[in-house]
């Protein structure tokens, strides 16, 4: 079977695809989050050193993963939109940015509440925290630059280039716990194995998949709004709105 990759490059067809995907993803997010929270709060044992407070991990780590991964996906869409001048790519990048910023904020916020009882401080100017904070500002800069022009296409291209310049921050965040020996601990999970209890790992993975599904659902819903707004003068949007009215 030959897949026509250009089919979904048209806003009209992508709009329908996004509308079909979003509810499924939100449903998957709800189910996975319920399962993840059950495992996290009921099944997973109390940590020997930290007590109950370690359960912040079930939202902190997935949010931190998503904050970096969404930026990476966003930059891929930006590269796509800059090199091939695709409209949907730029719209997807714009739709992903607020979700990424939200996850970055959640990672910082939950990290502060985890740090207070365990490290004795809400915030330390540690390499990983600082670079995560810079990531939050990169998301804000991306959103602000995209909205700063009269012509949305101009905003698309300028913010896409900014996202590509800012991607140097990603390896710095990822490797910060290896390069600098600071307060934030290293990773407990790798492809070669884990230093965690198996129920803790499952709770974390379920929550990570829930965040993943939520991110896809939220960005698909947002991209539909962006497509409708940008394409409001086209016949298919008029036909759609006319059919609804």
């Amino acid at each position: 079977m030959k897949i026509n990759w250009y089919y979904f490059a048209s806003p009209a067809t992508f709009f329908r695809l996004a509308g079909w995907v979003a509810p499924w993803m939100f449903a998957a997010a709800a189910i996975l989050a319920a399962a993840g929270l059950y495992v996290g709060f009921v099944v997973a044992p109390t940590d020997a050193q930290q007590g109950e407070v370690y359960r912040v991990i079930f939202i902190h780590v997935p949010a931190a993963w998503m904050s970096m991964f969404i930026y990476f996906v966003m930059s891929c869409y930006c590269a796509l939109s800059l090199t091939f001048n695709t409209r949907v790519g730029a719209m997807m990048a714009r739709a992903l940015a607020p979700t990424g910023a939200m996850f970055t904020f959640v990672a910082l916020w939950t990290g502060a509440f985890w740090g207070r009882p365990t490290w004795g401080t809400y915030w330390a100017w540690d390499a990983r925290m600082t670079s995560e904070l810079v990531l939050l500002f990169l998301y804000f800069g991306f959103i602000a630059l995209g909205n700063a022009f009269e012509d949305p296409r101009r905003g698309d291209r300028a913010s896409a280039l900014l996202a590509l310049i800012g991607i140097v921050n990603l390896p710095i965040i990822y490797f910060s716990v290896k390069w600098w020996n600071t307060l934030h601990q290293g990773s407990s999970v790798s492809f070669r194995g884990t230093s965690m209890h198996v129920a803790m790992l499952w709770g974390m993975l379920l929550m990570a998949f829930a965040c993943w599904a939520y991110a896809i659902g939220a960005s698909m819903t947002r991209v539909r709004a962006i497509i409708i707004e940008r394409e409001r003068r086209t016949n298919w949007v008029r036909a759609l709105v006319g059919a609804r009215a």
């Binding site: 800059l82 600082t130 810079v134 500002f137 990169l138 804000f140 800069g141 602000a144 630059l145 700063a148 022009f149 101009r154 291209r157 300028a158 913010s159 280039l161 900014l162 590509l164 310049i165 800012g166 710095i172």
Partner: protein, 238 residues
């Protein structure tokens, strides 16, 4: 009897990297020298803000020695940031930038020349002045040297990163605040390693790793960022 008009011989200008670089470097530097007020404003701002800190936090010698390198770096960063609009915005406003785009020289050449001129007019004076400010903070001689060397390696990176951000923000609403949101987060790594160099020296350690990282960042920035700036200018002129 009217004098015949001599036809001006038309010589085609051959585009070259060196020619483009030298032309825009000379032009922007001449402009900076013809408006010495603007150039001096950057330096005055740098000295003034650095002098405010001892008045604000108290003039205890040990405290000043401790915060000196960091404060001077933050001031240099802000001064470099505040001088960014002169880099492209005025040329964009009066249409010169479009004319330059028509020049036979490669775009990366004259863009690099402009950035180099920006550094000579803003980063270099700050580097030269930094030991003087360091003396106000009571820094030791070797710390002063580390501070100046770190600024020498770091401020060109700031000019390059800032050039990319100011080119991206050409014609955008929200002017200075938007530029701050774009540029300052990207300046953070340079600030960390730049200030770290002088602090390591002051603590009796070697500053060499910091210099290596600053140098590596500068090499990467010189190789990559002029092309990003070109793309940003092309987006702006579209």
């Amino acid at each position: 009897m009217s004098a015949a008009v001599e036809p001006v011989p038309v010589t085609a200008v051959r585009g070259s990297f060196g020619g483009g670089f030298a032309w825009s470097f000379g032009r922007d530097l001449t402009l900076a020298l013809r408006h010495p007020g603007e150039t001096m404003l950057v330096v005055a701002f740098f000295v003034l803000v650095a002098s405010l800190f001892p008045l604000g936090v108290g003039a205890e010698p040990q405290l000043l020695q401790r915060i000196g390198p960091g404060v001077i770096w933050v001031c240099a960063l802000l001064a470099a940031f505040l001088s960014l609009p002169t880099l492209f915005a005025t040329d964009y406003a009066d249409g010169s930038l479009e004319q330059m785009q028509l020049s036979p020289h490669p775009m990366a050449a004259w863009v690099s020349g402009k950035i180099a001129a920006h550094w000579v007019a803003s980063g270099l004076p700050l580097t030269v002045l930094s030991p003087l400010l360091g003396l106000q903070y009571g820094l030791q001689a070797d710390t002063l040297g580390a501070l100046a060397l770190a600024l020498l390696l770091g401020t060109p990176t700031l000019s390059l990163l800032g050039a990319a951000c100011t080119a991206l923000a050409l014609g955008a609403r929200g002017g200075g605040m938007l530029l701050a949101l774009l540029a300052l987060p990207l300046f953070v790594p340079v600030l960390i390693f730049g200030a770290g160099a002088a602090e390591a020296q002051a603590a009796g350690l070697t500053a060499a790793p910091h210099f290596s990282i600053l140098g590596a960042a500068l090499i990467l920035a010189v190789m990559g960022l002029p092309f990003a700036v070109c793309t940003a200018v092309r987006i702006a002129l579209d």
